[in-house]
Amino acid sequence: MTDGRDPASPVQTGRSGKAPLGRLIALLASVSFASSVVAALAVACVIGTLLPQGEEVARYLRKNPGGMARMERLDFLGLTHVFSCWWFLALLGLLALSLTICTFRRGRAALKSKGRARGRAIGSMLTHISLLLVLAGGVMRGVFGERGQMPLHEGDTKAEFVEDGTTVALPFSIHLVKFELEVHSESPAVERKARIIDERLLVKQPETGRQWKLSSKVGTEKRLKLKGGAAGATGPIELRVVRKVADFVVDTRGVANRSDEPRNPALLVETVAGGVTNQQWLFAFHPDFNMHGADGAASVLDFRYEVKVDDPGKPQVKDYKSTLQVLDGTNVVVAKTIEVNAPLRYGGYTFYQSGFNPQDLKWTSLQVVRDPGVPVVYAGFLFMIIGLAAVFYLYPQAPPGRPRRSNTSEVE
């Protein structure tokens, strides 16, 4: 085994002499430094997927008002927006710096070497340059990019879109001729009924952010011990799931189940708190109708009945399209019918079919994007594939038998 540092590694020995700057440059260009930066980025990415990010934070706080202080601390460290916080960007900057230096330091030597080693060195250079291009494209997106929404009604003409609540003007206008929605008519699974595939009862104490996840089976019982504040007066709360219906209606006989399909799933929950007995219906699809009482358990707790439905019979959207015209003044310069996966490009802007209004099919919703970095990023993508293919397959390392690292020393 030849584990361990490779004394022949040209990067480790460097040739920048002993000057502090030279040593810094040698460090930045070393493979161990680069690997550490990449490993740190990987760790940052793990953190960014484990903690709630961006909009999730607001949702998290709505659910756990008690978590405010914790979120503020995380926010201070950038942990609520890892992928745009200063230290993450700094890591990307270090990656770029390291890549740039090592490309320059090895570039000349790479071009001077011969044969297989040359192909391989150029391949690996191309791979590294491609990464720089992707990063540069990302910077261009951040600096020059625009992104927003543009809702349009049939017959409307607009020369502006909304980005984060502010209106941005376009140098031309967009006219919606018509919107079309197609649904799959021959859904193969129509005979299968809709059914609930997952459900639960969530109880939350907003004051402390405490939460219980309970089964929504009829008969489920739970004694909830509350802590703190106003809840102290209430003591423990006894909770019981009394009744469940899949399709809630109220008719002459009171509450009834209209069908077996989960069209309006509802749960009747009974609570006993401080001698007060309360019954309330929870509606999975209409949580706003859940009762909020002034007394008893409902005054200190929030209840939520959550279900996930599999509905094979529901007509499935096959496609949706908007027929657009680009107007320069009153002249139609371009006309195109766009759909998901087929946007309209004009004047540096791209118009994506992003949504529609199921209640009013005269409306379409467009995503408007301007990202001058895309061609740069795509060039990076192309180089990366070519570079990697060159390193691994066009100019593979010396065949076994010869010392395996011989070609790297040729580079130097």
């Binding site: 490779d6 949702r59 998290y60 992104r147 499935q316 946007p343 994007v369 594939i385």
Partner: protein, 276 residues
């Protein structure tokens, strides 16, 4: 079509049984039948995917079931290519086991052909899924090699060091293969996202985890090629890499949403094939 699927399953299962028997009895004579069964299974599975492609009118790479079927096929295919160079029955048995597990897991998901939501109706998506899973299969085989290496190179192990060296090289080659295809997979995914939503990268958990996997293997490649890491240290990175592959594939869908209590209502944010 179900018949064909079952036949594939039976072929792989039989190949597994035969190769385990051959391993235990150390009888080389049964090795060839095991290989034959594996090849037969792979051919039948290719036919299955072709039939499904024809029936659906689109490439059969768009949901959990279809991707698992592709995954098991690709594992067998990568192994069969690797076998041309090194013939270690343990590796064959382990690859067959992984293929069987992937197929068994696939049958836990519905196999109906469902219409695709508009964003998924894209050739980029098919290329994306295909290349990703080819890459994942390379990593799966590298994982087998790494584990075998770690066992073979234990202190006091009886294995000849040639075996360990062969495994070491096999891990490297399969990772290089996997890395190339994962790269193409991430790139085609980005291009697809850009054509459907106007953004090639949004840092959603699935994307981010594929990048984490990519980073881990990039570190492997540098440690190995530039710093001469060999042996156990390199093998451990290969193991970590495959753990990350599995998390990207399965964990992101089933574990991450659980961290956020509203997951049930919100659904997955990655509007990829997994959302369908």
């Amino acid at each position: 079509m179900t018949l064909l699927f079952n036949l594939v399953f039976v072929a792989y299962l039989a190949a597994l049984v035969v190769s385990v028997v051959s391993l235990c009895t150390r009888r080389r004579a049964v090795e060839l039948p095991a290989l034959g069964l594996l090849v037969a299974g792979a051919v039948l599975q290719a036919a299955y995917m072709a039939v499904r492609w024809h029936a659906a009118g689109r490439a059969p790479f768009s949901n959990m079931f279809e991707s698992l079927v592709l995954f098991s096929w690709a594992i067998v295919a990568v192994y069969l290519v690797v076998r041309v160079r090194i013939k270690l029955p343990v590796v064959g048995a382990a690859a067959t086991l992984l293929a069987v597990l992937a197929l068994a897991y696939a049958s836990a998901f519905g196999s109906d052909i469902k219409p695709l939501m508009p964003a998924l109706q894209s050739n980029w998506l098919s290329v994306h899924v295909f290349t990703c899973f080819l890459g994942y299969a390379g990593f799966a085989v590298s994982f087998i090699g790494a584990i075998a290496y770690l066992v073979a190179s234990r202190e006091g192990s009886q294995s000849r060091s040639e075996t360990a060296d062969a495994l070491d090289v096999m891990v490297e080659k399969t990772i290089a293969f996997g890395f190339l295809f994962l790269t193409v997979g991430i790139i085609t995914g980005a291009v697809w996202a850009n054509s459907a939503w106007g953004s090639y990268w949004t840092w959603d958990p699935k994307e981010t985890w594929s990048l984490i996997t990519w980073f881990i293997y990039a570190v492997y490649l540098h440690c190995r090629f530039m710093r001469g890491w060999r042996g156990r240290r390199a093998a451990w990175i290969a193991v970590a890499g495959f753990a990350s592959v599995l998390f990207t594939y399965v964990g992101v869908n089933f574990l991450l949403p659980g961290l956020h209590s509203y997951a049930l209502l919100a659904g997955p944010s990655h509007a990829g094939p997994w959302a369908a």
